[in-house]
């Protein structure tokens, strides 16, 4: 079966040219139908969105909120057609395990249903009428962008990545089950950004913008730079680019009665999204002097990650990623024998699906992702800002998850914020960013 991976409201299917793209991995095979995007079509889509916006502008915000709320409720129902489609197809398209997709949908939608009321109250509102949003390969940001656009009574045109064009399209289409006219305000289409054949299209999408438009980008830094250059300066430009995150566990959290829940949170933060999210920790600094040592913490974390592997297995790895991971794991195995590191492997069906690597030094280092977490000891958690300061990763720091007493956390947070860290939160919240944290209209 061929599944449409776009949402172009008001455009007749027979007016489009399509190509089929096949996705294949250990979870199966799927063919997605993708429209050929060009400037003329994009202009037509924008015109249709402009007309559809009249409906939005006349609708009170609480009614829009009800539509979003109803749609969210539908997504929480395992029998909702779009949810069923997402659960079936996203593992093939994204490489996440079916259990991960299920957890992501449950977690994100329930989180959103809790926050909708607050979002409505807190939204400042802006005079932006159209949002052009560039999405990343990881599903999630489209929910935030679409909901915030609707609350602002803006239309939204999402450029989904050609490597994951599905979820944004499904989410956009799903609004039609509650309010067809609201769904008409959301367009989604993928194309390969930056390619010469899309130059005209991108000159229109980004270049022909006015002060009534916003370009919002979730993506890699190279793409951000190029899109920023193409965007008309009159338009508002907001970017959420890739990042690096880490966690901190203080000695007082390593006491009996506390340590189990910290380990559970720390394991989940690593395993969620297979560490592919900007808020996923790549390193945990663990303070010495607690009831258990940082090394013991590593062992317990590995045990918990192994347990999680049964219910939340790591997803599929690309061939090249498998090659790199194999080489890295063998290197750590030997470093372990030499005494330079201690590696606790996580395995499933004979395959290494992750690792906890304990190293005695305290140098700030990133991981290779896909559930490989480094643990380093520190004498005092307040040393950490100094350690991070000299790292080349400093300017890309995204989230720091802290498990500590409130007082020490506050002190650490102050120093980390001075370094430019945008988000300091608890480890349990690292992988559940609140919609309230993202300001699309800066």
């Amino acid at each position: 079966m061929v599944y449409p991976a776009y949402a172009l409201p008001g455009i007749q299917e027979n007016a489009l040219e399509f190509r089929n793209v096949e996705f294949k991995n250990k979870y199966g095979k799927v063919i997605l139908k993708i429209p050929k995007m060009e400037k003329k079509l994009a202009k037509n889509v924008v015109n249709k969105l402009d007309i559809a916006r009249n409906y939005l502008t006349q609708k009170p915000v609480y009614e829009i909120s009800n539509v979003v709320s109803e749609t969210t409720k539908l997504w929480l129902d395992p029998n909702f057609q779009y949810r069923k489609m997402a659960e079936k197809l996203l593992p093939i398209v994204t490489g996440f395990s079916p259990q991960m997709v299920h957890t992501f949908l449950d977690g994100t939608m329930s989180n959103m249903s809790k926050e909708l009321h607050q979002i409505r109250l807190l939204e400042k509102g802006s005079n932006i009428e159209r949002i052009f949003c560039v999405l990343e390969e990881i599903p999630g940001p489209e929910i935030l962008a679409i909901v915030k656009a609707l609350y602002n009574r803006s239309t939204i045109f999402c450029k989904s990545p050609s490597s994951e064009p599905l979820f944004a399209a499904l989410y956009a289409q799903s609004f039609a089950d509650v309010d067809k006219k609201i769904a008409d305000c959301i367009a989604v289409a993928p194309w390969e950004g930056g390619k010469p054949e899309f130059q005209d299209l991108e000159n229109f999408i980004y270049g022909e913008r006015t002060e009534k438009d916003a370009v919002v980008l979730f993506g890699n830094i190279d793409a951000a730079e190029s899109i920023k250059q193409k965007t008309n300066p009159a338009a508002q430009f907001t970017q959420f680019t890739r990042g690096i995150s880490f966690g901190v566990i203080s000695k007082e959290m390593l006491e009996k009665g506390k340590v189990d829940s910290v380990i559970c949170d720390a394991a989940l933060a690593v395993c969620m999204y297979d560490q592919r999210a900007c808020f996923s920790p790549q390193l945990y600094y663990v303070e010495r002097g607690g009831e258990i040592s940082p090394k013991k913490f590593s062992e317990l974390l590995a045990k918990k990650m192994q347990e999680l592997e049964a219910n939340l297995p790591r997803g599929d790895l690309s061939f090249d990623a498998s090659v790199t991971l194999t080489e890295l794991m063998s290197t750590y195995e030997l470093q372990d024998l030499i005494g330079n590191a201690k590696m606790y492997g996580i395995r499933s069906n004979g395959e290494q699906t992750g690792a906890v690597i304990y190293q005695k030094d305290n140098k700030f280092e990133t991981s290779c992702l896909y559930r490989v977490i480094k643990i380093k000891p520190v004498n005092d958690i307040l040393e950490i800002p100094t350690l991070v300061k000299s790292s080349p990763s400093l300017e890309y720091l995204h989230t720091v998850g802290v498990a500590s007493s409130e007082g020490r956390k506050g002190e650490l947070e102050k120093d980390l914020k001075k370094l430019g860290v945008s988000r300091v939160t608890s480890i349990s919240d690292m992988y559940q960013p609140s919609l309230l944290e993202y300001d699309l209209f800066n």
């Binding site: 994204t94 490489g95 990343e136 390969e137 990881i138 490597s163 994951e164 979730f218 993506g219 890699n220 830094i221 959420f240 680019t241 890739r242 990042g243 690096i244 995150s245 999204y273 297979d274 560490q275 592919r276 999210a277 900007c278 996923s280 790549q282 690309s318 061939f319 090249d320 990623a321 498998s322 090659v323 790199t324 991971l325 194999t326 080489e327 890295l328 063998s330 290197t331 195995e333 030997l334 470093q335 024998l337 030499i338 330079n340 004979g350 395959e351 280092e365 990133t366 991981s367 290779c368 992702l369 896909y370 080349p392 990763s393 890309y396």
Partner: protein, 382 residues
């Protein structure tokens, strides 16, 4: 005791051995060197024990797949500190036997170091000499112009290795010369050098980007040369600097036109930097693995499993030439076997033959998390 390696290397026609005999000898040579490292390298011994492999488990050629492999990255990691004692942790010979540390330039800017004793230097040199003689068809009257700086201006394995392995084939020292002096390519001098020598056939050796530069100049100036029918252009070194500008096919056309070298004589070599060897192409452009080495493409999810001929896998190199460290390497390179060790290549020589596809693209996440390689890339850009 005479090692099987020496028996193989002294064979008058190592690539013309019968397949069954070569397979048996390859197995014996690799098993011997495996036993040697197992007995003489405490770290490797522990590693083998962890993988529950001893020399007794290596009973036949198929079992070579079970020999524990050292990742190429380990040498990089141990070289980071710059301390010799760190890299010596991987040595199978005492410190006093290490005569040099060969280096390769890493992408991170820190050179990766490999400890070599005299025996390993001798063996790798002879190995490369035999490859150049039997696949490269360089003989005692040949002439080689290296399109590189001379030995005193560069310590890279590419230049030193080629010189050391070709020299024993030739009668006299003046049968090798260098085309780049003081970092500059002197086209006129190169033409004069090639024209004034009486040795035949005249061969060339160099990296792709230099060939491109020279070929373009010769063509532009209308100074195309006509070398002999047997002349060859040996290509080694990265394609990175010419990729995007010119494809291999295009470069071959340029070389052919500029030097009058037949296309079948334009031979790419695959440099196996971790074991200081290279695999050279025959006239059918298949890179031949000599019988004292085992190169196979493995399943990255199970390194003890070889992928089918023609399918992509992760390259594993095992050589019986190196005594100073366990020369059983798993790299981050992706390639395929084009002729199995049970078959002959179209050129009549025995297999296996392999093809290098690419360096694994790494862990660049399909998501919004940044990995170190991306940070480095951005830092370089800045």
């Amino acid at each position: 005791m005479k090692y099987t390696f020496d028996e193989l290397i002294e064979h008058p026609n190592p690539f013309g051995m019968d397949i069954v005999g070569a397979t048996q000898k390859r197995f014996e040579a690799i098993k011997e060197i495996f036993s040697y490292h197992y007995d003489n390298n405490s770290l490797y011994h522990k590693y083998c024990n962890k993988h529950k492999i001893t020399p007794d488990n290596i009973k036949n050629h198929e079992a070579l797949l079970f020999i524990p492999l050292l990742p190429s990255d380990l040498f990089k990691a141990l070289s980071t500190s710059g301390r010799e004692e760190d890299i010596e942790k991987i040595a199978s010979v005492p410190r006093s036997s290490i005569v040099t540390y060969f280096t390769t330039s890493g992408t991170t800017g820190i050179p990766t170091r490999y400890p070599f004793d005299r025996e390993s230097i001798r063996r790798t040199t002879v190995s490369n000499t035999q490859i150049n003689r039997h696949i490269g068809e360089i003989h005692e009257d040949s002439y080689l112009l290296m399109l590189t700086p001379p030995l005193e201006e560069s310590k890279t394995g590419l230049i030193q290795g080629m010189y050391m392995s070709v020299k024993p084939i030739l009668k006299k020292d003046d049968q090798i010369s260098f085309g780049i002096k003081n970092g500059k390519l002197d086209l006129e001098n190169m033409i004069t050098t090639l024209s004034s020598t009486n040795y035949r056939p005249r061969h060339l050796f160099g990296p792709p980007f230099i060939y491109k530069e020279i070929a373009e100049s010769l063509i532009k100036k209308g100074r195309e040369l006509k070398l002999e029918e047997e002349s060859k252009a040996f290509i080694s070194g990265g394609w990175k600097r010419v990729k995007g500008e010119v494809e291999r096919e295009e470069l071959a056309k340029m070389i052919s036109r500029a030097f009058g070298i037949y296309k079948e004589n334009i031979r790419d070599g695959l440099g196996l930097t971790d074991i200081f060897s290279w695999l050279l192409e025959c006239s059918y452009h298949h890179k031949h693995v000599p019988p004292w080495m085992h190169v196979s493409c493995r399943n990255p999810k199970n390194l003890n499993e070889e992928v089918e001929v023609g399918k992509e896998g992760i390259f594993a190199f095992l050589t019986s030439a190196i005594t100073s460290f366990p020369s059983f390497i798993i790299s981050g390179d992706i390639g395929l076997t084009t002729t199995s060790y049970k078959e002959k290549c179209e050129c009549g020589r025995i297999g296996p033959t392999v093809e290098h596809r690419r360096r694994a693209t790494g862990m660049s996440a399909r998501g919004c998390a940044l990995v170190l390689e991306e940070v480095i890339k951005m830092m370089r850009k800045q």
